[in-house]
């Protein structure tokens, strides 16, 4: 594989675990994994990322990591005092076959887990799937903490998938406008977008309280956003706790947001307030105002499956032509879904799951595009091919804003269109010859 469009499971598990209130993610493996994940997440969010490691040495790798994990749990509760430790495995601990539940039982038996504290874990072998799989596995492990309940409390579980803290905030705002009582997990807003005040807390106020996650079985339903990120957890709640679920696309762009709002108001049994309809109208307005600049433009996109599906639908909805679409994450359904979404476009579409950015670059060389959308690594392609480029996805290491400005929902759609328009029109202004260079666009 050359120039991957994915990374490994544990980083997704770490990000998901940061969305639990008072939770310290713990990497059960050699310390380099934890260091790399913390560095990458820190560079993306420009925020402190606290997480610990079992710091395996050669001995632990031969004899098993139980002693290291027990020692780690004891040290973590003594020094950092989190409410929750969310352990994820690595290729190292998975290859030697460490059994997390057995080690947790031992920890409880040895009384190193203080009263009222939670230790749980997810199996996230780096040699299966991708960072998206790791996120999904950790969220599923959260769902596994829920118990069946006969006392339904009218709450709707929302599993947002791997979106930005700003997106999670936006989803909560939309739900509040509809009047839906929701419990969203994980929720990294208030954790990875903290203010600068002169004080530092390893556990800022945000995140979903673990007790609420444990009570997810009392909900009347679950909305899972994104088949890859969120569906497994929702289905587990369905089978284990009899909480019915709907799996929706991530609400990026007009139509996916429409479906999300419609599903939410239906389950909540409430009507959609004018405020949301007005937001929607503004998005449609911008789509129509600027349609001439979108129409027929060819786009290449790389990223994660749930995001790409929603983005492809959005691009098609404004008559752009997403012609090259690559994710590194495996999944046969992905290619099929993209084919469906692009079926009515009258141009050839290249789509690949388990692809890489090297392939994307080759495709672009063979069939040039007008716009590239992807994470920061795509800037090497953008520079080589001199392409207008919108940074969207994970990781973004060289620009700011994603942690604060959502791209989900209708207002998020406005932001996406603004970004796309800006790079297209900047390019037009740069390239237009003198005689056709214009003031008004």
């Amino acid at each position: 594989m050359i120039n991957p469009a994915k990374t490994c499971q544990p980083i997704g598990a770490m990000y998901a675990a940061l969305g639990i209130k008072g939770c310290l993610p713990h990497s059960h493996g050699a310390q380099g994994c934890c260091a790399y994940h913390r560095s990458t997440l820190t560079r993306h969010y420009k925020e402190p990322i606290s997480a610990s490691s079992s710091s395996f040495t050669e001995g632990a790798s031969v004899f098993g990591g139980q002693a290291n994990l027990l020692q780690a749990i004891n040290n973590i509760f003594s020094v950092y005092e989190p409410d929750v430790i969310a352990v994820h495995t690595t290729c190292l601990s998975e290859t030697i076959g460490d059994d997390l539940p057995q080690i947790f039982n031992k920890a409880i038996k040895d009384q190193i887990v203080p009263e009222g504290k939670t230790v749980f874990g997810a199996s996230t072998p780096s040699y299966i799937g991708s960072h998206v799989t790791g996120f999904s596995n950790m969220v599923k492990a959260m769902a596994a903490l829920a118990q069946p309940s006969d006392n339904k409390n009218g709450t709707i579980n929302i599993i947002p998938g791997w979106v930005e803290p700003s997106d999670m905030e936006e989803l909560k705002r939309l739900a509040a406008l509809i009047g839906a009582k929701i419990m969203m997990f994980p929720d990294t807003s208030g954790v990875l977008d903290a203010p600068l005040t002169g004080t530092y807390s390893m556990f800022p106020g945000g995140g979903t309280p673990i007790d609420k996650i444990k009570d997810a079985g009392s909900a009347s339903g679950t909305l899972a956003l994104g088949e890859w990120c969120s569906a497994d957890a929702a289905r587990l709640l369905d089978t284990k706790c009899k909480v019915p679920c709907s799996i929706l696309d991530m609400p990026f762009g007009l139509q996916a947001t429409d479906r999300f709002i419609d599903a939410l108001r239906t389950i909540a049994g409430s009507s959609v307030p004018d405020e949301i309809s007005i937001e929607r109208g503004k998005l449609v307005d911008m789509m129509s105002d600027m349609h001439q600049y979108f129409y027929g433009k060819k786009v290449a996109i790389a990223g994660d499956p749930d995001q790409l599906i929603a983005m492809t639908e959005f691009l098609v909805s404004i008559d752009m032509c997403p012609v090259h679409i690559v994710t590194g994450t495996p999944g046969k359904k992905f290619e099929k879904r993209i084919r469906e979404l692009t079926g009515e476009m009258d141009c050839e579409v290249n789509v690949k799951a388990k692809g890489d950015l090297f392939l994307l670059h080759q495709w672009i060389k063979n069939e040039p595009v007008d716009l590239l959308i992807g994470n920061t690594y795509c800037k090497y392609i953008a520079r080589d091919e001199d392409l207008p480029f919108v940074r969207w996805g994970f990781p973004i290491l060289d620009r700011q804003g994603h942690q604060h400005f959502p791209t989900v929902g209708y207002t998020g759609g406005l932001r996406l269109l603004e970004k796309i328009l800006s790079v297209l029109l900047d390019r037009k202004d740069r390239d237009d010859p003198e005689e056709v260079f214009e003031l008004v666009l």
Binding site: Q31, G32, C33, A35, E47, T57, S78, T95, Y127
Partner: protein
């Protein structure tokens, strides 16, 4: 945050006690030995424990062996294809994240740094072995790039499942004939930090590359610059100065390096060691096998740069070079002096803490001294005792189980190429003139009495140090950056320079002065409290005016 207290109010013993008080007893005992108060003792200097295991669960700044080998040492070489054998993550995280700049493409017309190659091992490879997949990937890399060399790096599971990467490398190397293929057993669980990865990289580069160059390198005053990684263009600035002085830099390990530069290292007449920790093995081996002596140099800090240049000139002992070096220093220093004059009134008496690397926590104190700033506390992430206390402790160092696992290669004098550059008499004469061969004094001697030297500082201790001592500036890496800044203390990354640099040499020093002036005198930090937070109580009702 309140204004910094005066240093006299701090008792380092109290601070150490505060750093340890929350730990479970076993952790406290271990950490106590890695937190050293720098104070004179009868007949001896204080001892520090270093290069020992990280404590599970304690949030360390350290990375792993793979990071030290692939990330640090081999990462910067632009025309060697780096192929990581393992699941995708390790290759992804080391992809363009270390700011190794290169213009090596001018020499070789190949720059593979923007490429991330991995065998992307899947569960079936873990079960049935990944050697076939590795072989295919090597072939693919060869067909695609036709490189001079392909380096293979093992990640954790490779060692566990027993893939013989060295055998695969050997086989492919023989098959190609025109491409050197070699492998690094740098699984992340080996050793206790990045340091073991440096050692593994040193060994393999020396074994598989050094001495292989088919061309004779011309030039006067031929040196190697070892342990310089061209972060933010440091190496460019040092090379600019070398060129100006007429010194020929044959090979930098490994900033802005190429395969052929590594291969030519045996043709130099002196090795100059910047980062002692990461590269001293190569320096020693070059001396043993080829007879090239080594000296410690430091190009961080204008005075240190001048001193290092004079040391090199003294070694070659030719008037032409000695005079030229003085001319260059005289030409470069006025700009440095002017910059210091400008910033000194604003930086003087400010305080700093440095926790980084295996040499930078030492080298950067030179620059802070030039700025009139005091280093309150410092320490390394992955150093050994000799980096703290000096190389004289080497014979007494105990080799523990973790170090024993790292291969020591036996090197002896090359029957044809061994050529001692200086006779024993010449060496003795030079030593009399202050040219110390094979000598590194370490961090502790340059630190003030009563300062705290902390090995493998962790997040909790960092927060304690900042809270208690309130430095004006904290220096470490990306993982530490934002937790420190949330406390209202500016934080400078000294691994990646926060996208700044170069900071080496004369021009780099000027950059650094300006950068530190910006950091410690920024108005940004005054905005943390809103007006209504500063004066929450209204003493009277305001009339609308």
């Amino acid at each position: 945050m309140t204004k910094a207290q005066k240093l006299v109010q701090w008792d380092p013993h109290n601070i150490k006690a505060k750093m340890l008080e929350k730990y479970p007893p076993k952790v406290a005992r271990k950490r106590a030995k890695q937190i050293m108060i720098n104070e004179a003792q009868e007949n001896s200097t204080p001892e520090i424990v270093a290069n020992v295991r990280t404590i599970p669960g304690i949030i360390t700044m350290r990375g792993c062996t793979y990071a030290g080998c692939k990330g640090v040492i081999m990462g910067p070489a632009c025309d060697i294809v780096n192929l990581v054998h393992g699941p995708i993550g390790c290759s992804f995280y080391a992809w363009l994240t270390r700011r190794n700049q290169t213009d090596g493409i001018n020499d070789t017309h190949s720059n593979f740094l923007p490429y991330c190659m991995s065998t992307d091992m899947q569960d079936t490879d873990i079960i049935f072995g990944g050697e076939k997949k590795l072989e295919t990937a090597i072939q693919e890399a060869y067909d695609l790039f036709k490189p001079k060399a392909i380096a293979i790096f093992a990640t954790c599971p490779v060692g566990l499942i027993g893939d013989d990467i060295h055998a695969v490398a050997k086989k492919m190397c023989a098959k190609f004939g025109d491409c050197n293929v070699f492998a690094f057993s740098c699984e992340g669980y080996k050793g206790v930090s990045q340091s073991s990865g440096h050692h593994i990289a040193n060994n393999q580069v020396f074994t598989h590359i050094v001495g292989n160059s088919p061309t004779e390198k011309k030039g006067k005053y031929k040196i190697n610059l070892l342990g310089e990684y061209n972060i933010g263009g440091d190496g460019f600035e040092i090379d600019r100065i070398f060129v100006k002085c007429g010194i020929s830099n044959i090979s930098t390990f490994s900033g802005n390096s190429t395969y052929d530069k590594f291969a030519s290292a045996n043709q130099a007449d002196l090795s100059c060691v910047m980062c002692h920790r990461s590269i001293n093995y190569v320096a020693d081996m070059l001396e043993t096998k080829y007879g090239i002596p080594w000296i410690k140099v430091n190009f961080i800090g204008a005075e240190a740069t001048a001193k290092s240049l004079r040391k090199i000139a003294k070694y070659f002992a030719e008037k032409e070079l000695i005079d030229r070096v003085e001319e260059v220093i005289a030409e470069e220093m006025p700009a440095v002096k002017a910059a210091i004059k400008d910033v000194l009134p604003r930086t003087k008496d400010k305080t700093a803490m440095l926790f980084v690397g295996g040499s930078r926590a030492h080298h950067y104190q030179e620059l802070f001294r030039e700025l009139g700033m005091k280093t309150l506390s410092a320490g390394y992430e992955f150093a050994h005792r000799d980096d703290y206390e000096g190389r004289h402790v080497l014979p007494g160092l105990k080799v523990d189980a973790d170090s024993r696992n790292i291969e020591e290669i036996k090197v002896s004098a090359d029957p044809e190429l061994y050529n001692p550059r200086k006779t024993a008499e010449e060496v003795a004469a030079l030593e009399k003139q202050g040219v110390d061969f094979k000598e590194y004094g370490g961090l502790n001697p340059i630190m003030d009495e009563g300062t705290l030297v902390v090995d493998d500082l962790n997040q909790f201790e960092a927060e304690k140090l900042v809270e208690l001592m309130k430095p004006d500036l904290f220096c470490a890496g990306i993982k530490e950056k934002y937790s420190i800044q949330k406390l209202g203390i500016p934080m400078k990354q000294l691994h990646s320079y926060d996208a700044g640099g170069p900071y080496a040499g004369f021009r780099g020093a000027v950059n650094f002065y300006q950068e530190i002036d910006r950091l410690v005198n920024s108005r940004i930090w005054s905005y943390m409290q809103a007006p209504w937070q500063k004066n929450p109580e209204l003493s009277a009702t305001y009339a609308w005016e």
